[in-house]
C-alpha cells in the first residue's frame, strides 16, 4: 500500500499552469486533513464508507489506482494510515510547486 506516489503528484500538478497549482494544492491538503480528522471520530461503517468514497474520488483525480486498496479497508486505523501516507507525500513536494 505504501508506494511512492510523488511522481503521480508531480504529474497532476504540473499539468496545470503555475497560478492554478497553489489553490489546487491547498484544496487537496485541506481535503486530506479533513478526512484524517473525521477518521478519528468514525463510529460506524457508514461513516467509514463515506470517507472511503471521498478518498477514492481524490485518488482518482491524482491517477492513483487505489480503488482496490480502499475497497478492502474495514477499520478506521487502516484509512488513517492511507490518508497520512498520501498527505505526507503531498506535503513533501510542496516546495516544487
Amino acid at each position: 500500500m505504501f508506494i511512492d506516489i510523488s511522481e503521480n503528484l508531480r504529474h497532476f500538478f504540473w499539468h496545470y499552469s503555475a497560478e492554478r497549482r497553489l489553490p489546487l494544492y491547498q484544496a487537496l491538503v485541506g481535503e486530506l486533513v479533513n478526512i484524517r480528522s473525521q477518521t478519528g471520530t468514525i463510529e460506524n461503517s457508514d461513516q467509514l464508507n463515506t470517507l472511503k468514497h471521498q478518498l477514492k474520488g481524490i485518488c482518482r483525480y491524482l491517477s492513483l489506482e487505489f480503488d482496490a486498496q480502499i475497497e478492502v479497508i474495514t477499520r478506521r486505523q487502516q484509512l488513517q494510515c492511507m490518508v497520512e501516507h498520501i498527505h505526507g507525500q503531498v506535503v513533501a513536494i510542496a516546495d516544487e510547486l
Binding site: 489553490p23 484544496a27 460506524n44 471521498q54 474520488g57 482518482r60 491517477s63
Partner: protein
C-alpha cells in the same frame, strides 16, 4: 458560459475549475459552486436556471445528486439544463442513474466516472445544445393518502416477527427478515388476510411506514441485534412514493449502524418506471441494500436484474421447497445460483423446510438459508432468547 459545479469536495471543484481554465475549447466561463444538493438547488434558482452546464456529483456528504436530478425533473424551466453527472461509484450505479435521467427527459450530457475529461464534456454539451428541442416535462404528482389509518393500523394491532437468515458455510446468523402480523382478540391475522384489505383501502404506503418505524425502533433498542441485517419488504408501489423513500432514508440516517436491506417484492411492470428506478438509486446511494425477492416468479425478473444493481436475490420458495424431489426446480435453482455467482450478488434461498433441501442448496453454493428448518418467524419479544440459544449451538447443532 455559466457552469454550476455541485460537489462536496473542494479539491474536486478546484480541479474541475482548473480543467475549465486549461480547456482547449475557447469559451468564457463563469463558474458557480455548491457543496451539497440544497446549495445546488438554491444556486439554480438564484441564477434563474441560466446555466449552460450543471456538473453534479452523485454521492455527497449529507445529500445526494438524485435530489438535484429530481428537482430538475419537476421544474420544467430547469429540465433543459445540460447535466453532467460525475461520481466515483461503480459502473452499474452510474448506468442506473443514466437510465433515470434519460427516463425523466432531462438534458443529460452523460454520466462520467471521476476524474472527468472536461474537454469531452464541453464538446458534448455544445453538440447537445445545438440540437436541443424544448421538451414537455410531466410534473410529478403528490399522492400520499390522507386516510386516517389509526383505526386499521393502530400500533398495538401490528406485530413484527423476524425470520432468521443463516450463512450456509459458517452457519452464523446473517440477519432477519421482518414479517408483519396483525392481531385481535382471536389471535394472529396473517398477511394473506390483511394485505388485500390494506391494498383495497389504499394504505400500502402507510402500512410500510409503520413497519419501518417499528422495525427501526426495535433494532435500535436491542443493541445485541446491531450486527445483523434487517430486511424489510417493499413493493414497487412503495418505491413510487417519494414521501416513503424520504421516510426510509431519514430512519437510516438516524440509525446509521443498522444494516438495512429492502426486499423488493411483487411482480409488477412498474419496476422500470423512472420514479421507481430513481428511488432505488437514492436508497443505494444512502447505503441501503436492495434484494430482489421472489426471484424467478415474475416474467420481468431478468429485466429487473439487468436494470437494477441488487445486492442479493432471493429465490422464490416455490422453487426451493422441493428441489430434493423436483428435477425441474433443481435445475432452476442451480442455474439461478450460477447466474448470481457470475453477477457477484448473494443468493438467499427461502422456504427451506428440510435438511435434505438444505444440503442440496449447500452443494449448489447457495449463500444464505431462510426457512422453518432454522426457525419459523419469531415474535420480537422472543428474538434475543432465540439468538442466544442459536449462538450457543442448541439450534445450529440440530441442523447439519
Amino acid at each position: 458560459m455559466n457552469i454550476l459545479i455541485v460537489d462536496d469536495q473542494k479539491f474536486v471543484r478546484e480541479a474541475i475549475k482548473a480543467d475549465l481554465v486549461e480547456s482547449t475549447l475557447e469559451y468564457d466561463f463563469q463558474t458557480f459552486e455548491a457543496e451539497d444538493a440544497n446549495q445546488g438547488m438554491e444556486a439554480i434558482v438564484a441564477i434563474d436556471g441560466n446555466i449552460d452546464l450543471l456538473i453534479l456529483d452523485l454521492k455527497m456528504d449529507n445529500s445526494d445528486g438524485m435530489e438535484v436530478i429530481n428537482f430538475l425533473s419537476v421544474h420544467a424551466s430547469y429540465a433543459d439544463i445540460p447535466l453532467a453527472v460525475i461520481s466515483s461509484s461503480d459502473k452499474r450505479t452510474l448506468g442506473l442513474v443514466s437510465s433515470i435521467a434519460s427516463s425523466l427527459k432531462l438534458n443529460l450530457v452523460g454520466v462520467f466516472e471521476k476524474p472527468i475529461n472536461m474537454d469531452f464534456i464541453l464538446a458534448e454539451t455544445a453538440r447537445l445544445q445545438s440540437q436541443l428541442d424544448h421538451k414537455m416535462v410531466v410534473k410529478s404528482s403528490e399522492s400520499v393518502s390522507d386516510y386516517d389509518i389509526n383505526q386499521l393500523l393502530a400500533d398495538e394491532q401490528v406485530l413484527l416477527c423476524f425470520q432468521p437468515q443463516v450463512d450456509m458455510k459458517s452457519k452464523n446468523i446473517i440477519g432477519f427478515e421482518v414479517l408483519a402480523r396483525m392481531h385481535d382478540e382471536n389471535g394472529y391475522i396473517y398477511p394473506d388476510t390483511f394485505l388485500p384489505l390494506i391494498d383495497k383501502a389504499g394504505l400500502n404506503v402507510d402500512f410500510t411506514k409503520i413497519i419501518v418505524a417499528k422495525a427501526f425502533k426495535f433494532w435500535a433498542y436491542e443493541k445485541a441485534l446491531s450486527s445483523y441485517t434487517l430486511s424489510i419488504n417493499v413493493t414497487a408501489e412503495d418505491l413510487s412514493c417519494d414521501n416513503l423513500i424520504d421516510y426510509i432514508i431519514r430512519h437510516k440516517q438516524a440509525h446509521a449502524d443498522i444494516k438495512l436491506i429492502l426486499e423488493l417484492t411483487e411482480s409488477q411492470e412498474v419496476i422500470n418506471q423512472a420514479s421507481v428506478l430513481n428511488s432505488i438509486a437514492r436508497l443505494i446511494i444512502n447505503d441501503i441494500g436492495i434484494s430482489l425477492d421472489d426471484f424467478g416468479k415474475s416474467y420481468s425478473t431478468y429485466e429487473r436484474l439487468d436494470t437494477i444493481p441488487f445486492n442479493e436475490i432471493k429465490i422464490d420458495r416455490s422453487f426451493v421447497c422441493d428441489i430434493d424431489t423436483n428435477e425441474q426446480h433443481h435445475l432452476i435453482v442451480e442455474s439461478t445460483i450460477a447466474l448470481a455467482k457470475k453477477m457477484s450478488v448473494s443468493v438467499v434461498a427461502e422456504g427451506i423446510e428440510t435438511e435434505s433441501v438444505l444440503n442440496i442448496l449447500a452443494e449448489l453454493g447457495c449463500d444464505i438459508a431462510q426457512g422453518y428448518v432454522y426457525s419459523p418467524p419469531i415474535e420480537g419479544r422472543y428474538l434475543i432468547a432465540w439468538v442466544n440459544r442459536y449462538v450457543y449451538k442448541d439450534i445450529a447443532a440440530n441442523v447439519h
